[in-house]
């Protein structure tokens, strides 16, 4: 029985998908060993050999192409490397900032400008070199974060040197810069930074369109809901392209940006765009918080979006606690208040258990 190499036959895959495939193989091997031990399924020696050879070949190919982790020990090492990369990126970025500030007063303006512009470009070249040398992209990721920090430094210091007032345009530039690295090298942290920066830019522009100064963007929470909506649209777009990791990040950030402002709007209705009195606006957001929070939990369970389900579930619980505090704290004895919260938590648990059972029944 000849089996074709999965890697050769399959469409192009990402490193994360390759890692998932490796994990599947290990799970299959573990389960097959248990089935054989229980005498439920025993493959003939020929079948066993063919399957083992096929999997060995697949693992070798994936390891060569993507440098995936083939054992639990390798996985733990990878986690350590990720943490080390992050620490390195933060420390190197701080070093770049402090190094420049330590010497910038000694440099003439043209030299300052050249250095500021060169820093993100040179680090960007470093990202490309690192990405070509190692498939795991740890160094590329580290350098990409440093390049991003250098670009933030570039525009911030340029504004200082030429006495430019703070502008939201910087966030757009930083966001695009982060997106370039995110899409070119499939770096999720850079995607997160890009979404954050562009989200802030959208909220700032919308705030300034109302006549307020853009720095008041955090006093206009609904603007972030609009940015969150756009992130959700991007998530749907990536979903159609079967880009699981980026879809997940867009979706998670999108829902957080949509749900979190409801927290604040349900307390300070006067910050809403709704042409209603602050109290009515607050009540509207009370209702929206529960309806939308529960709706997202329901959809996330049905579609098996575990991250979204966790985030929206957490939102729902915290929102409920906040509202119970608003409504009951002044009127109920403390023991009764906490009893109420405990009762609600038990009720929620029951509802979620029911939803889970239904999902299992549906298969």
């Amino acid at each position: 029985m000849a089996m074709k190499s999965t890697v050769d036959a399959a469409p192009p895959i990402t490193r994360e998908q390759a890692q998932q495939r490796v994990d599947q193989v290990h799970a299959f091997r573990a389960e097959l060993a248990r089935l054989e031990a229980d005498a439920v399924l025993i493959l003939s020696p020929d079948q066993s050999r063919v399957v083992r050879d096929q999997h060995d070949r697949l693992l070798a190919q994936l390891a060569q192409r993507f440098d995936v982790d083939r054992t639990q020990a390798e996985k733990q090492m990878s986690l350590g490397m990720r943490i080390a990369s992050l620490l390195g990126a933060v420390a190197l970025s701080a070093a770049v900032f402090l190094f420049f500030y330590r010497f910038w007063g000694l440099l003439s303006v043209p030299v300052q400008v050249v250095l500021l512009m060169a820093a993100p470009i040179v680090t960007g070249i470093g990202v490309e070199v690192a990405a070509r040398r190692e498939k795991t992209l740890y160094f590329a990721w580290l350098l990409a974060l440093v390049a991003f920090a250098s670009f933030v430094l570039n525009l911030s210091v340029l504004a200082s040197i030429f006495n430019l007032p703070p502008s939201p345009g910087g966030f757009l530039a930083w966001g695009i810069f982060a997106f370039v690295f995110a899409y070119a090298y499939r770096l999720q942290t850079l995607l997160l930074l890009g979404i954050g920066c562009v989200g802030i830019w959208i909220a700032a522009v919308l705030t300034s369109l109302t006549g307020a100064h853009w720095i008041a963007l955090f006093l206009r929470p609904e603007n972030f809901m609009i940015a969150g909506g756009l992130a959700l649209a991007a998530s749907a777009f990536h979903s159609r392209r079967d880009d699981a990791n980026f879809t997940l990040i867009y979706r998670l950030v999108g829902w957080i940006a949509v749900l979190l402002p409801i927290f604040f709007l349900s307390e300070w209705g006067e910050m809403s765009y709704l042409p209603l009195s602050p109290i009515t606006a607050r009540h509207c957001y009370d209702v929206l918080g529960f309806v939308l929070g529960a709706g997202v939990v329901y959809v996330a369970i049905r579609r098996q979006w575990s991250e979204t389900m966790n985030a929206s579930g957490l939102f729902l619980v915290l929102f409920l606690c906040l509202k119970l505090f608003d409504w009951c704290w002044d009127y109920l004895p403390r023991y009764l208040f906490f009893l109420l919260i405990g009762g609600v938590a038990v009720g929620l648990l029951a509802v979620l258990q029911r939803l889970r059972a239904r999902a299992i029944a549906r298969g």
């Binding site: 470009i121 200082s160 006093l219 006067e270």
Partner: protein, 261 residues
């Protein structure tokens, strides 16, 4: 690789070019204003071992009367002041949206003769270095000395820059700059009122070019920096700074002089 590289360079170049375009446009044409300020109005804000860059923050008299910044003036720059502050529901109206800060043009008047006749308070018999040292040590309760107070004070705001310049034509006395303003509702005593306040000017800090930093440092002498803009000036100003506002209202320091003390 080339495509990725071009994207990175493209983003960096476009963003920097955008900033330079603003700077170039600002330096085209005659300056909008040119004033000579001193340490009273330009406070050295950062000189330490971790940063060799030097910036001066613009300070104005925050206690100056702002009777001119009334409800009508607020309405003229876009604040929704349609509700009488004494009417029912005024508190709700002025509690959120109506109070969000807005950007507008602020006119700062520079009066070089301000504080000339003022006498230092009774405890000002101590020597200037003593006072400065106490001030930089952050001792509470230090009184501001009127003759060392900032001589810049806001006198008007508006969204029409040309109209403001026509009204305040003296370019050596009146600075027009972008600023952030906000409305305040006063309900301490009747009749209630709404007025405006200047939150900040944009930019609030000016970079001291490298070639001028030596003069600035020399002027500070033994007393050194005063420890932050929150410490009142307790001695006569030590430096004079010529600030030029370009046609785009971006300021730049063009000259620094040490003042004889």
């Amino acid at each position: 690789m080339l495509k990725r590289f071009l994207w990175v360079i493209g983003v960096v170049l476009v963003a920097n070019a955008g900033a330079f375009a603003v700077v170039v446009r600002n330096s085209n044409g005659a300056p909008d204003a040119s004033v000579q300020l001193t340490e009273r109005e330009m406070w050295l804000s950062n000189v330490d071992t971790d940063s060799t860059g030097m910036t001066l923050s613009i300070e104005w008299d925050r206690d100056a009367s702002n009777d001119w910044f009334d409800r009508a003036k607020l309405a003229s720059i876009g604040f929704d002041c349609s509700v009488d502050p004494n009417a029912p529901g005024a508190e709700v109206h002025y509690s959120g949206r109506a109070l969000l800060p807005r950007t507008t043009y602020v006119v700062l008047e520079y009066d070089p003769n301000r504080g000339v006749d003022a006498k230092p308070p009774g405890n000002a018999r101590a020597t200037e270095p003593d006072l400065a040292n106490q001030a930089s040590a952050g001792q509470p309760g230090r009184q501001r000395v009127p003759e060392y107070e900032p001589r810049l004070r806001p006198v008007d705001v508006g969204n029409d820059r040309q109209a403001l310049r026509a009204k305040y034509a003296d370019r050596h006395r009146y600075i027009i700059t972008s600023g952030i303003v906000r409305a305040r509702l006063f309900q301490a005593r009747k009749p209630f009122k709404v007025d405006g306040t200047i939150v900040g000017v944009l930019p609030g800090e000016l970079y001291v070019p490298q070639q001028l930093q030596a003069t600035m440092l020399a002027s500070l002498g033994k007393i050194g920096n005063r420890g932050g803009p929150w410490v009142p000036l307790m001695h006569s100003p030590r430096y004079q700074v010529t600030v030029e506002y370009g046609s785009g209202l971006l300021p730049r320091i063009v000259e620094v002089k040490a003042l004889a003390r």
